[in-house]
Symmetry: C2
Subunit: 413 residues, 2 copies
């Protein structure tokens, strides 16, 4: 994989030109993407910018995010050839930081469930996860050092876990979702993929102009609360192994680690996530669903067919649960610095018919809290399994710092 | 003006066909819009739908809201000829409720300050206000019974006040802003214009599928807190007269009415509104501002030039003030049912060079609370002046009900 931090250091030292940095990504795309299928389109003539912290950094942008220079097709024939007039704010933020938008990455149709043909670079017989399939796979395959994805249920953290890369789903609205195809305005969150935790931290710091997000070296051991999310069912053996391995490594590196039960209202928030998501999706996709029913991606259409019955009353009650759960979760962080939980039930499922299950991710998306995936275990078939490090709302720097600590701890023999 | 409630009753009784209802709007547009200039474009062949609570209701949609059947030009040459692929969710909600989208109404460029050529139907020498200029003017001129606008500072309530129509800026996110050109995601709110309070209430009830929003007849007198917003400066004589007249009428109709001071943190929220607005605007308009600087509307461009200095630190502090102010404001509503305040400093300014000042509106947009404009006073030159009725967050039905009560009270001799 291409480390953003190492690339920056080489560029700063003058041992790598920015053009060569972008060039290595173009070469890697030519070498691997015919097999992996992470890109919908890319620019063979992409050029580096001369300034900015992300100069020389080639970035892949999930194809539900507006770009003026590339079509934005949302993974759906309904948007075939669609060209937004302008770039989404988050794309402009990348450009302003000096990055090169090298292409658009595959997305499940409208960032829902209908899979893409993208392969998992760690094992081609498995899904890379979704909905940000191409962004996770492109970073994992060593094509690019940074990619943008989005998460409504678990669409950043889950593919990162399946592909063995670092990723952050930041606090709600740290990155603007303007110009990003909406699924659910209460949930949709733009996130970043990179090789390691420090790579995504540097990327996020650069595009938000918040230097405090870059993970410092040599930090104090965080107090960790392990959350097994029993309300979401039991994980696979590989998911449980990843969580146990990460918790043990952190403890050996000096962290206090204890299992934490979530307040009942938080478990209730896990249960009502689908009400918020689907009630808003019926509005967000009203034009597609009502005017283009036959062309709708079948799995998403089926979900909308099944969720027609939610009323404004159901929705208001769900929003109220979410608000109370956010408050209760805030109090949990008085006792620990971060939570540590599963990024997925286990390793990536076989085949491409499913992108996996977001049941261990969706609660945290609804809570709006920052989540960082750290690869923690390799299951049978060379398939990675990650864990999620979670800080309180707005504590993106804490989540990244603790995730970096755990990543380092996992490297120890 | 065309009353939505009366139109619905005539259609229900069978004394007005839905086609004739839409036809009267087309006729009124032909008769008046050459002078008023409320529409960017409209459909001379618009047809009524056969079913739904808004069948026969011709609606004007502010031209920053996506429509597939009409261009969406944002009041700016940068979007000349722009055609979104789909309808915004709020437009789809209108269609699903049976309404006819008859055309797009004028907007100041990107819903900021650069005025349109639209005239105030009450006095052609004056501005109709902005940014939802065309929507307010089209309803005031009797062209249509319902129109959509948006508010980030005071862009729904102020033009409603200047044009002498009822309007609601609902609770934050009661109506989705998906497919609406973003200015500030923390502030942008879609609102409705109608002839009277009950007209906008019926419209809002229909498009949200929330029948409880339709204002009942014969309600109990609300407990009213009058807020003069001293932190925003002193109003003109006509603004003060409107507030006094409305307060007196409500008291005579049985309301308890007392002046209320706002907690200091709420006044502080008034002060930091521009930080939230401009910091987000720099991101929302990044593509327009950086890639199309010369074509940017000059007043908005000047605002962005001047507000470049806000940092993420300033923004985070402002967001924190807003959160604490929302909490403090919630407690105010333990003592009163609604607040009554100014909709504008006074009557519409002369000329078309300014759309007026949102200083009495912006706090409530930031607080996310429902605001209803009620015409309360006629100033020199036949210019209307309104007042704003405000309920707690989520209390849209209470705001509308109390506004209906005050509207009735103002009719008494």
């Amino acid at each position: 994989m291409i480390s953003l931090v190492e690339l920056q250091e080489s560029v700063d030292r003058g041992t790598l030109t920015t053009e060569a940095a972008v060039g290595q990504s173009l070469e890697a795309i030519r070498a691997h993407d015919k097999t992996i299928g992470a890109f919908v389109c890319h620019d063979e003539n992409a050029r580096a910018q001369g300034a900015g912290p992300l100069r020389g950094v080639a970035v892949g942008v999930k194809d539900i995010i507006d770009t003026a220079d590339f079509p934005t097709e949302m993974g759906s024939q309904i948007y075939r050839g669609h060209r937004p007039r302008g770039d989404a704010p988050v794309v402009m933020a990348l450009r302003q930081a000096g990055a090169t938008i090298i292409g658009k990455t595959t997305t499940t149709a409208f960032a829902a469930n209908d899979p893409t043909a993208t392969l998992n670079p760690r094992n081609h017989a498995h899904t890379p996860g979704g909905s940000s399939s191409g962004s996770a796979a492109a970073v994992a395959a060593g094509m690019i050092p940074l990619a943008l994805g989005t998460q409504t249920g678990g669409s950043v953290i889950r593919p990162a876990s399946f592909c063995g890369v670092a990723a952050i789903k930041p606090s709600y609205r740290l990155l603007p979702t303007v110009g990003v195809k909406c699924f659910s305005w209460t949930l949709d969150t733009v996130g970043l993929f990179g090789a390691k935790v420090r790579d995504v931290a540097r990327g996020l710091a650069a595009i938000t102009n918040r230097p405090e997000l870059a993970v410092p070296a040599g930090v104090a051991a965080p107090r960790i609360g392990v959350v097994t999310q029993g309300f979401a069912g039991a994980p696979d053996a590989s998911g449980a192994a990843a969580l146990q391995t990460a918790a043990r490594a952190a403890k050996q590196a000096g962290s206090s680690v204890r299992e934490l039960a979530m307040p009942e209202i938080v478990a209730e928030a896990w249960r009502i996530h689908p009400i918020v998501q689907e009630f808003e999706a019926h509005q967000s996709f009203a034009w597609e669903y009502r005017q283009n029913y036959d062309a709708m991606p079948p799995l998403l259409r089926g979900r909308l067919d099944e969720s027609k019955g939610f009323t404004p009353f159901d929705y208001d009650a769900a929003i109220d649960v979410a608000a109370r759960a956010r408050q209760a979760l805030g109090a949990v962080f008085d006792e620990v610095d971060v939570l540590l939980t599963l990024s997925a039930a286990g390793a990536a499922p076989k085949g491409l018919s499913s992108t996996g299950d977001p049941r261990y991710n969706r609660l945290w998306t609804l809570m709006g809290v920052p989540c960082v995936n750290v690869p923690a275990h390799i299951a049978e078939g060379g398939l990675p399994v990650g864990v999620t490090v979670i800080a309180r709302f707005g504590g993106d720097a804490q989540a990244l710092t603790a995730a970096g600590f755990i990543e380092d701890a996992l490297k120890r023999p």
